[in-house]
């Protein structure tokens, strides 16, 4: 097993009331969600020692995994369509995305599970904001912080010790790659959130949410391409895995950055991410409604 969960911090007493006044005004809801995201960013930025501890650990893991890839790609120089430098870049980018996409579970998932256990979630459901969007904003804020701290620093260290591949080609092509990668990472975080949101809500029906979390983490770690590029799997499995929602979390954004998806393939990749995001958003809304019904009928 790779890294264990980030230290579990006590759930924030989310300051609903502070933001509530904003939602009444025109254009207020966007400002509300922006404020939630900013608040979440700042909250995680407050755990400074935890951040450095995490950066250190991400970097150490990056080294270990990079050497194993190097050993494999030295034997098979173009395995899975990646050259050595692309494969090493894949490792370090994967480490950079680990926390933003919360591959090990967590982020707002911890908060929601805690609120389900202590019953606060029932109160949340009566608030005049959409819970899914509220928690999505919070998770995007968290992911933003983790990308800047625990994403970038290990990547820079990795770049010092290994030859990593940066987007190449004409300035226009480079710009398109960077823009595509940015959008793709944002969608990756969104899809990852939506999956974790679904998993967290199952806590309403199950006594112990740990089982569901373990299953989703295992599926996510493997089918996202975080452990190995999906193209290394047996061909049928690889083809199926490429279309699953987990591919939207790691495999697609990394392929966009490594320019394995350009032109039509780039558009197709982003569309796949967008499609899963839409589908999971809908599923989340349905499940959320079922939860509200359950809370109203049984009083939580």
């Amino acid at each position: 097993m790779a890294q264990s969960l980030a230290p579990a911090h006590p759930p924030d007493p989310t300051p609903f009331r502070t933001f509530r006044t904003l939602s009444g005004r025109p254009g207020g809801s966007l400002r509300l969600y922006a404020a939630v995201a900013r608040g979440s960013f700042r909250r995680y930025a407050g755990y400074r020692a935890a951040t450095w501890a995490g950066v250190f650990t991400n970097t150490v893991f990056g080294f270990f995994i990079a050497y194993t890839y190097q050993a494999l790609w030295q034997i098979r120089p173009h395995l899975g369509g990646y050259d050595l430098s692309a494969a090493l870049t894949y490792v370090w980018l994967g480490q950079a995305l680990l926390m933003p996409i919360a591959a090990m579970g967590g982020g707002v998932q911890d908060d929601i599970e805690a609120r389900i256990i202590n019953g606060d979630i029932a109160v949340d459901l009566y608030r005049p904001v959409d819970q899914q969007l509220w928690w999505l904003s919070a998770d995007l804020g968290r992911a933003g912080y983790h990308l800047l701290s625990r994403g970038i620093v290990p990547l820079l260290v990795g770049g010092l010790f290994f030859h990593l591949r940066m987007p190449a080609g004409s300035p226009a092509a480079q710009a398109l790659t960077w823009a595509g990668a940015t959008v793709s990472v944002a969608l990756a975080v969104t899809v990852s959130f939506l999956l974790r949101y679904l998993a967290a809500l199952t806590g309403f029906w199950l006594m112990d949410p740990r089982g569901v979390r373990q299953v989703t983490v295992v599926l996510g770690m493997f089918f996202s391409g975080f452990l190995l590029p999906l193209s290394l799997l047996p061909s049928t499995l690889a083809a199926v895995a490429q279309q699953l929602p987990w591919a939207a979390m790691v495999q697609i954004p990394l392929d966009v950055f490594l320019q394995r998806r350009t032109g039509a393939a780039l558009a197709q990749g982003l569309l796949l991410q967008l499609g899963w995001a839409g589908l999971l958003l809908g599923a989340g809304q349905l499940l959320q409604r079922a939860v509200v019904r359950k809370v109203v009928v049984q009083g939580g």
Binding site: M1, A2, S4, A49, T57, T68, I75, R76, L227, L232
Partner: protein, 281 residues
């Protein structure tokens, strides 16, 4: 003279008392966890499956090659199994310590210190979770497969080295947990640092030393001596040439490394407790 020999030294009594406290606390948690059978089995299997993922990665890698760093799949599986087994045992025994920073922050270390038992024993046994044995069992299965495939010629000395490997590996990883916990007395938020030695170290030890940069391997021999967990004994057990370039007797020096690790962890723990008892936080 004869009389002084029959009186047990003071550390003997203290150790026995500490083990007793550990057994009492752990036993209570064990009974409590078994009360929820379904939950227990789900999380145990979950633990096993999660820890199996790393072996799936190795298996997929060997779909594309016959050797990695010059080692075959059964040989790498031997490293995987021994690394996971020893980490799993250490995690089972003292893994609860990794939440120490949290306990310092919420002040519950104080409640441990007012009980008449060693703090380390109480804190390691707290939340003792048999579900962590899921990792142990899963790794044992892989190790069993590897030994079956390797068809080693088991001699007395080899059996001894194998047993020593399991014990000393567990002690080395256990020391890492204790030292990591001691560090959390100073940096209560930095629980994750120790993951790079425990879980990170175990990931490294799943692969042959020849895969890694020379300096990294030297660091694992002379720095944090993780190489003594399984790399060095494996060279002897599997009869492989030394890719590291260390004295030959290092293959049998795991007990020495384990002793040094335990001593270092013990000192770190004392420093941590001392710091806590002079700041109260």
């Amino acid at each position: 003279m004869a009389e002084s020999l029959s009186v047990p030294p003071p550390w003997y009594g203290r150790t026995r008392e500490a083990l007793r406290a550990y057994r009492l606390v752990a036993g209570m948690w064990l009974r409590a966890s078994l009360a929820y059978r379904t939950s227990f089995w789900i999380t145990t299997v979950g633990n096993a499956v999660t820890s199996l993922l790393d072996f799936v990665v190795i298996a997929v890698m060997f779909q594309h090659t016959t050797t990695l760093g010059g080692w075959t799949l059964p040989q790498v599986a031997f490293l995987y199994g021994t690394s996971g087994l020893t980490l799993g045992l250490a995690d089972l025994l003292v893994g609860s310590l990794d939440q120490l920073g949290q306990r310092v922050r919420d002040g519950s270390v104080d409640t441990v210190l007012v009980r008449p038992a060693a703090a380390l024993a109480q804190l390691s046994a707290d939340r003792f979770a048999l579900r962590r044995a899921g990792r142990v069992v899963q790794n044992l299965l892989v190790l069993g497969w590897s030994l079956w495939e390797l068809q080693l010629d088991w001699t007395g000395p080899k059996l001894l080295v194998m047993a020593v490997l399991v014990v000393c590996g567990t002690v080395i990883f256990g020391s890492a947990f204790v030292a990591g916990a001691a560090f959390q007395f100073f940096a209560t938020d930095a629980a994750e640092v120790q993951n790079s030695v425990t879980y990170g170290g175990a990931t490294m030890l799943q692969y042959p030393p020849s895969v890694f940069a020379r300096d990294l391997v030297r660091g694992a021999v002379y720095g944090i001596p993780l190489a003594f967990v399984n790399w060095l004994p494996a060279l002897y057990l599997l009869g492989l040439p030394d890719p590291i370039g260390v004295p030959g007797w290092f293959r049998f020096a795991s007990p020495l490394a384990a002793l040094l690790c335990a001593a270092a962890a013990g000192l770190a723990w004392r420093a941590g407790i001392r710091s806590y008892r002079s700041t109260g936080s």
